[in-house]
């Protein structure tokens, strides 16, 4: 168990108290890891990590502690400064149907898979990495929306699993490092900017987007959110995904 019992902020909880934590099923996350190995060809040079992201403006993302918590044990997980972590397969934790549990309350954070091919310049991702992030995220149950039919987007398909990511235009939300103005796909000579309706959770087509925002795990990440044409096979896995950030030069 964690030594810390006092919370620096309201959204922090002592892990040993465990009331209403923002946890995920360890078993499902291991299933995500297994899928990563099975589909590793999408991102052959990348490793799998999981990432914690804020759900509220006042979520304290500093000094988070994460454990695998089962009936008989609690195993600390090393969290990197960017709030990513790797999991190991542990038979005992699987047997006890353990949870992966940060010391924060439910609905204060969300989760994503983090799969990055090394060596890419800043402001560039690789489409195959994002394809695999979606598949692992769906398999591991990382999305944390709390209302069906959110934005008319993803929720009806949550039960579909990773095959949802193979649709031409899945509405799986990715989050860039910083607020984005544009996202462009580049494969050889071919360049194509995403339409604005594929940025910001589709807000430009939904006049009621602010009403639904509290139910979305993108609540404080809307200006960083984008969808990708993951299932469009005309874009190879090596396609570069280039970001034009709001605070960057044109």
């Amino acid at each position: 168990m964690f030594a810390q019992t006092k919370s620096p902020r309201d959204d922090a909880v002592a892990v040993d108290a465990m009331r209403n934590p923002v946890d995920k099923s360890y078993r499902r996350m291991v299933e995500g890891m297994e899928l990563f190995e099975k589909r590793h060809r999408l991102a052959p040079d990348a490793a799998l990590r999981f990432k914690l992201l804020p759900r509220h403006r006042d979520t304290d993302m500093r000094d988070i502690q994460v454990e695998i918590v089962g009936e008989s044990s609690a195993i600390p997980i090393a969290l990197a400064p960017d709030n990513t972590f790797a999991l190991e397969r542990r038979a005992a934790a699987l047997k006890e149907n353990a949870s992966v549990r940060p010391n924060r309350k439910a609905k204060t954070m969300t989760w994503r898979a983090e799969i990055r091919t090394p060596g890419l310049p800043a402001g560039v991702r690789r489409l195959g990495d994002l394809r695999l992030e979606c598949e692992v995220g769906m398999q591991a149950g990382l999305i944390s929306n709390y209302r069906p039919m959110l934005f008319g987007l993803l929720d009806p398909f949550l039960r579909e699993g990773p095959e949802y990511c193979r649709r031409t235009e899945p509405r799986y939300l990715f989050f860039a490092e910083r607020p984005i103005f544009g996202v462009t796909l580049v494969a050889g000579e071919r360049r194509e900017a995403l339409p604005v309706e594929r940025l910001y959770g589709g807000a430009s087509r939904d006049p009621r987007w602010k009403e639904e925002l509290p139910y979305c795990d993108c609540e404080v990440l809307m200006d960083r959110a984008y969808f990708m044409p993951l299932g469009d096979s005309s874009w190879p896995d090596d396609t570069r995904v280039e970001f034009d950030y709001m605070d960057g030069k044109s």
Binding site: R57, P179, F181, G182, A193, L194, P195, V196, E197, L199, Y200, A203, S204, W209, V220, M222, D223, D244, M246, S250
Partner: protein, 106 residues
Amino acid sequence: MRFIPLVFVVLTGCAALSPAPSSRESKPLGPAEVRSAQAASEAISVGKSTKADVRAALGKAVVVDFESGYEVWVYRERSPEKAKPPGTELVLLFAPSGILAKTRIR
């Protein structure tokens, strides 16, 4: 009296040279629509135009505003009725200062 036939000829000539406006062009623009994204982008200035300037020049936009103070404004070209969306769009970014910071046409 000689002048009247000349005026008549000139006016007739104009009518013959100008194509009749298509139904697409003659229909009034809807909210956040522009006839030409390129022409619209040329009517505003990055680093200078304010939100009021842009609204005066292009009309009402679809606005996506963020807590950071940044705002994204979207204008869409009117597409042929059977065209598959999304059509050509002009996307503007206003900095928290209210000044136009970036534009792009897709």
